[in-house]
Amino acid sequence: MKKSYKIIIFALLVAFSKIASAQDYEASLKIDYTTEDSVKYCVVHATSSDTSISGVEVKLYVKRLFSLLPIGDGVSTDEEGNAKFEFPGDIPADLNGKIEVIAKVEDDENYGSAEVHSESNWCVPRKQVAELERSLSGSRENAPIYFIVVSNLLLFGIWGTIIYVVLQLFKIRKTSKHLAKHK
């Protein structure tokens, strides 16, 4: 019985020391962008107390409208503390014309969690509304020309006829006044 108590106390101490040790170190991340042979790479450098840390899994994301888009799988930092990601060149830009890149260390047993945000131009610029193709499913500004022409012709034709008829009615009134003058 006494032996089992000792084991439990030992286990608790070990667990506590693990937690204590995880809180002792804080990781900080930095994102660099490099291009090698026209391939774009995003390098995340992980340090702790100005010392590069290795063997920490880093994940890379790009912020989208509703959630984070993962860029590949997680990569462990090498001896120099670098995790290298091949960066896709076809990510559409956000509303500001750029993308927000986020690197994260998530629940590492030694360094806990850390993240860094960085802005990048490595994205496909947003098409201006005016540059979009004209189509029936397009926006108000992108209605097909033939559609605008035909609908306006119809509208002006019909409303023109209505206005003509109304103007004719004034003729009735005018002729009446004319008669009144001669009476």
């Binding site: 006829t161 008829v165 009615l169």
Partner: protein
């Protein structure tokens, strides 16, 4: 001292038997001259129903719509939209009963044209009201004009409704001008404002040849214009459905199907209106059994055309029974909507197609009973077009709330729908109390030209 225009007006009809003409005038002006006790009770009743509708709308807009109306994610278009389609269909009455008959020289149109036109105008107005009642955010109505896309059928619908209202109002007004002069000259003991209104609206009508020429020309232009407009308005309404991604509305037949249904409804509504005006305003000399006979024949023709389009609309998809469309078809053929569907087919199509083939059924009373049945069936037909199919969406959701699966209109919705009907009848009633519901000059002109077909059976 007599108004000089009375004298000039008399000379216009110098070849007409004066006595007969004056009698006709007094007959047709009688409903405007006096309103009886029952007339007042009827108007008061309609106003009360309208007020109930306004209160219901206030409740709908000020409390949670999840509580006040039964519309949910599945059935997002409910009884308001089916009511809208019904009113748009009804508004085509003006096209058929006034414009088409006029242009094709069916002389018996003359006493009917104004009745048809005022029903058309009021129906299209209430179609607009129904749409606003259906809107989740009516305060954003103006966004349609500010941000609407010309490619969207909703925008076409707004454009064509506004155009049709305008054209119909003018077409109602122009033939009224000589009648307004008649009212101004012959009505007495009426409030000053009313007499001034006649004076103002008659545009100084004197019945000179020049004025007649302008008047006839305007009527002709608008009569021609209103036919494509009327057909467009209901075709566009059909396209609102057909261009929406719902399996049961995927149809190239929808425009013609809607227009043919509208013509059937138009004839039936005309029969009811003619019967009511004939009895209530004692117009038996002008709205004669001949009109019922002709309208009965028209009812048979329109029913046959509508049956043809229904066969196209239901038989071909039923033969294929493909995918989600099958859910809808099985629901209306043998499912929970089957009793309503087959009742509508029987009462709304086969009864009007067969019974008026017998001459005895084209007498005023039996034909009116048939017409009332057709009008009721026509309303439910629109209900069946809009609602049952919505219960079978393309992307069903798991654990969907029960209230999404079944739709039955709430008390608030039904009160508002009742109010739209009351408002429509109120507009027609009030109009007929201020203006002659049968165009005096058009009937007189027809008689003058020896076209006895106007009121006598030949």
């Amino acid at each position: 001292m007599k108004d000089p225009r009375i004298l000039s007006e008399k000379t216009t009809y110098e070849t007409f038997t004066q006595e007969e003409y004056m009698e006709m005038k007094s007959d047709l002006l009688r409903p405007v001259q006096t309103i009886g006790k029952w007339g007042k009770i009827w108007i008061a009743f309609l106003i009360m129903v309208c007020i109930a509708g306004v209160v219901a709308y206030y409740i709908q807009e000020t409390r949670s719509k999840y509580v006040t109306v039964s519309l949910r994610d599945y059935t997002m278009w409910g009884v308001y939209i089916s009511n809208f389609v019904f009113f748009v269909a009804l508004s085509l009455i003006g096209v058929l009963m006034s414009a088409v008959l006029k242009l094709t020289h069916f002389e018996w149109y003359r006493p009917l044209s104004r009745i048809a036109e005022i029903i058309a105008v009021s129906a299209i107005m209430l179609a607009g009201v129904s749409i606003v009642a259906a809107m989740g955010r009516p305060d954003r109505l103006h966004y349609l004009f500010l941000h609407g896309r010309i490619q969207s059928p909703i925008v076409w619908d707004i454009i064509v409704i506004l155009t049709y209202i305008t054209a119909s109002l003018i077409l109602l007004f122009i033939p009224l001008i000589p009648s307004l002069s008649t009212c101004s000259n012959h009505l007495h003991n009426k409030p000053k404002w009313q007499m001034r209104m006649y004076e103002f609206l008659s545009l100084g009508w004197e019945g000179t040849p020049e004025q007649w020429k302008v008047l006839k020309k305007c009527i002709k232009i608008l009569t021609v214009l209103v036919i494509p407009l009327g057909v467009s308005i209901h075709t566009v309404t059909a396209w609102l459905f057909a261009t929406t991604l719902r399996s049961e509305w995927d149809s190239t037949n929808f425009g013609a199907y809607f227009v043919s249904g509208a013509f059937l409804l138009g004839v039936a509504a005309m029969i009811v209106a003619v019967f009511v005006f004939r009895k209530a305003y004692k117009l038996e000399n002008y709205l004669t059994p001949m009109h019922f006979d002709k309208l009965g024949q028209a009812l048979v023709l329109m029913s046959c055309i509508y049956i043809y389009f229904n066969v196209n609309e239901y038989l071909v998809p039923a033969y294929k029974m493909s995918g989600l469309h099958a859910n809808h078809l099985l629901s209306v053929f043998i499912g929970k909507d089957a009793p309503l569907y087959w009742s509508v087919v029987f009462f709304g199509m086969f009864v009007p197609a067969i019974l008026p083939l017998f001459k005895a059924m084209r007498k005023p009373v039996p034909l009116t009973v048939i017409a009332v049945v057709v009008v009721i069936a026509a309303w439910f037909k629109r209900y069946l077009i809009v609602i049952p199919g919505l219960a079978h969406p393309y992307m069903p959701i798991q654990d969907v709330p029960k209230s999404w699966m079944h739709y039955s209109p709430s008390l608030v919705e039904m009160t508002i729908v009742s109010a739209t009907f009351a408002a429509m009848m109120l507009i027609v009633t009030i109009f007929s109390r201020f203006f002659p519901i049968i165009s005096v000059w058009e009937v007189a002109e027809g008689k003058l030209e020896g076209k006895d077909e106007i009121i006598n059976y030949k």
